[in-house]
Symmetry: C4
Subunit: 249 residues, 4 copies
């Protein structure tokens, strides 16, 4: 295997596709969001990216093994053609992050992508009832149009910058002429957060644009809400009566 | 020395050999199993693989030093010709794991290997009285034939995938046209586990096939059983009388 | 992106420029000092150095992203032309430090730099009221001229040597014929230390030479003094009355 | 700078020189021993090896900086010509250890070295009054001649093998046709141990052969003995009277 090994599984004709990235990260917000988009549309797996910069492992699903990879899917039945990148891993080393991101940009370029959105979470350190979406972008024009949809651009946030593939898609993407934005849903940082993924997607729907349902994501969000409630009750040292739960839930 | 340096010590004519891999890992199940196969047959050391991806060290046996390596042995007096890979080390870095595995597959290809079995343990977190064998494989055909021998293929197990050379032998092996399976004996994950190695070998015997005795491995298993018994008694805060030990042991 | 990717933003004609380096390190002394020089003069950004050896991240300022980089600024309105190197990151791996430093020296050579000063802190482990400046240099001549301005050259200090880009600018710089010195302000090692940055700059002013004001740096130093005072009072278990604070502050 | 950068400072004509290596390690036994040899003879610095695999730092001595390096000295006034390798650093990464050792072997080969001795300590975990010397070697002949001088070759010792440059000088050296041995003085592993360095050197004197005095090393050993005594007294909760100390010391 070379440093990167790309399986070209399909080459559909896409019309000005927008790239959406959601890899594992804070609250798994980006990955949840990207996977929900894939659930809501018909998809075609177009590229599978393998790399020695991924962890040395295979995943196992019902006995069949799959070498560590990131996958790029094409979506053609949305209002706008999409390429969705997701997977189970970030790179395992610093230079690997740079090279993986360049490889993803190569794929994007081969499909004539102009604009890309990196999705993720921004940690707040505490449970968030109504998460905002915080943005970062490579151009003032993109910042303006995102601000118009309610995305917040805050001085010095995220404080530590944006780390990993999401950050580099903007940093390296800009150098190669892509217009790129990162949409980060507020999230505690302690729990998988489908509610945060939903607010990120609601913003994305407006700007790309496309339209999706949130049934399955809402169910997962409600399950997590329940987990959160129990945690809060444990913190307060009280166990709610069944009555209370019915009222709150 | 190059990145990989292979000593070609012998090139016997093997008839459709099956590659068996057992390197250090969970419960040392894979390594114990591979070493037991080597004890039970006449073997010929055919390759010694050195690499700067192995730890920078030599082992010492009765004063003589041996540079870190993995070894490939040929077995020709079994029902089916075998190549057995074992050694004291996994690679020390992520890309090293990928490249070491490709190097092993090169050796396998040079002996016209078609099928390979990676042996290892799957951690359960608690002591296991009658370990099952959990499997993973690269083809549905292989899964079916292994299921017929009692190997379990479970949804989402192992949960974290298969890490290291064992996992990559399947992941990279499949890309190069090998048929490959991983046989994992259940084991606590806390102790060296010859009993788990035995159940893995009993499965392997059926599918390769070959036949071996388990005398020496059983002895080691009984020694470990004794260790386990003492641990359990310590946990319960009781010390058995000598009488009891005689009866149980 | 290549291993290093340098944006050539301007190529002003500089007259025997002196390179001043201040990257993050002990007490952020070097970075504070370099940034203060940039505040005090008109500056022109001449090079931006990107590298896969920097952390895989972008910084975000008011929504706009900037790929991890080190920057080189030209200063032409000082008594002597200056090149000032600063940034938010050291390299993320050992060989990366060597190669980043060589890249910086390449830039220095392209502007015909002969002499360079690396700025930093030297940790004392305790709060320092009147920090000294400790030096290290590549030539006896430079040591003598620095000693004449009050810089201390101590046997075996800093005990662990000088680590990172500052150290390698001397070590690798000397091999390429640069004359180089490191000026290290004493600092506790626990706090960002503008006072230490000031004493380092006061020395640098004399030897380069140039002249600057310290207004803004003094303000930051006073803020830190206040922090230090509070820490000391907490350590002594006393909380000062408002009166006391007015008197001391 | 390249991956390795060697300053060729002198090329004296040496007669079948023996290479002696003593880099930092357990109890600093090897480094103390190599440095003592250098103190006892007239020496000529013949090679200084720089590498990006060394830590990114300079050492400072009385203000002058020295880029991280390993040094090779020639000794021509001993009974047998010697090359002595010492320095302040091991490599910072696994492949770096392999490549540094190959570079050292290149230097050895350029001086027609046939035999080399790696010096070090073997940790016992407790204070040792009369340390033995444990050996490891690449040939049975060398083992026999070392056993005749009292060196111990023990089954499975050192248990974890020999790590770092010392180990690889044997492992890689053997592959290139050098005859090599490692002499390891027993040492607690907790303290710098000049006494252990002395017993290693006494063995080395016999086998190389050469003759040296131990005045300065004995002084350092006595200083450490004193430290050890105090530690033991602290452990026993007693403080010796001055009288006692005079008697014991």
């Amino acid at each position: 295997m070379d440093e990167f090994d790309i399986d070209r599984l399909a080459d559909p004709d896409l019309d000005d596709p927008v790239l959406i990235e959601g890899l594992p990260g804070v609250g798994h917000v980006g990955k949840l969001a990207a996977e929900h988009v894939l659930e809501e549309f018909d998809t075609e797996l177009v590229r599978r990216i393998h790399s020695e910069h991924f962890p040395p492992q295979v995943t196992v699903e019902e006995g069949r093994t799959q070498l560590a990879s990131a996958e790029v899917y094409a979506v053609r039945d949305a209002e706008c053609d999409l390429l969705v990148l997701t997977g189970d891993h970030q790179a395992g080393d610093g230079p690997g992050h740079y090279r993986l991101t360049e490889t993803i940009l190569d794929v994007a370029a081969s499909f004539d992508v102009d604009r890309l959105y990196a999705l993720g979470g921004i940690p707040t350190g505490e449970l968030v009832d109504e998460p905002d979406v915080v943005g970062a972008a490579t151009t003032d024009g993109l910042i303006e149009s995102l601000e118009a949809t309610g995305v917040e651009f805050r001085e010095n946030e995220p404080a530590g910058g944006i780390v990993g593939v999401s950050g580099l898609l903007l940093g390296l993407g800009q150098r190669r002429g892509f217009e790129a934005a990162c949409l980060m849903g507020e999230t505690s940082g302690y729990l998988v957060d489908p509610k945060s993924a939903r607010v990120v997607l609601e913003t994305l729907e407006t700007v790309v644009p496309f339209e999706i349902e949130y049934g399955s994501l809402s169910e997962r969000a409600e399950e997590m809400e329940d987990v959160v409630k129990r945690i809060r009750q444990m913190e307060q040292g009280t166990t709610p009566s069944e009555e209370d739960l019915r009222y709150i839930g």
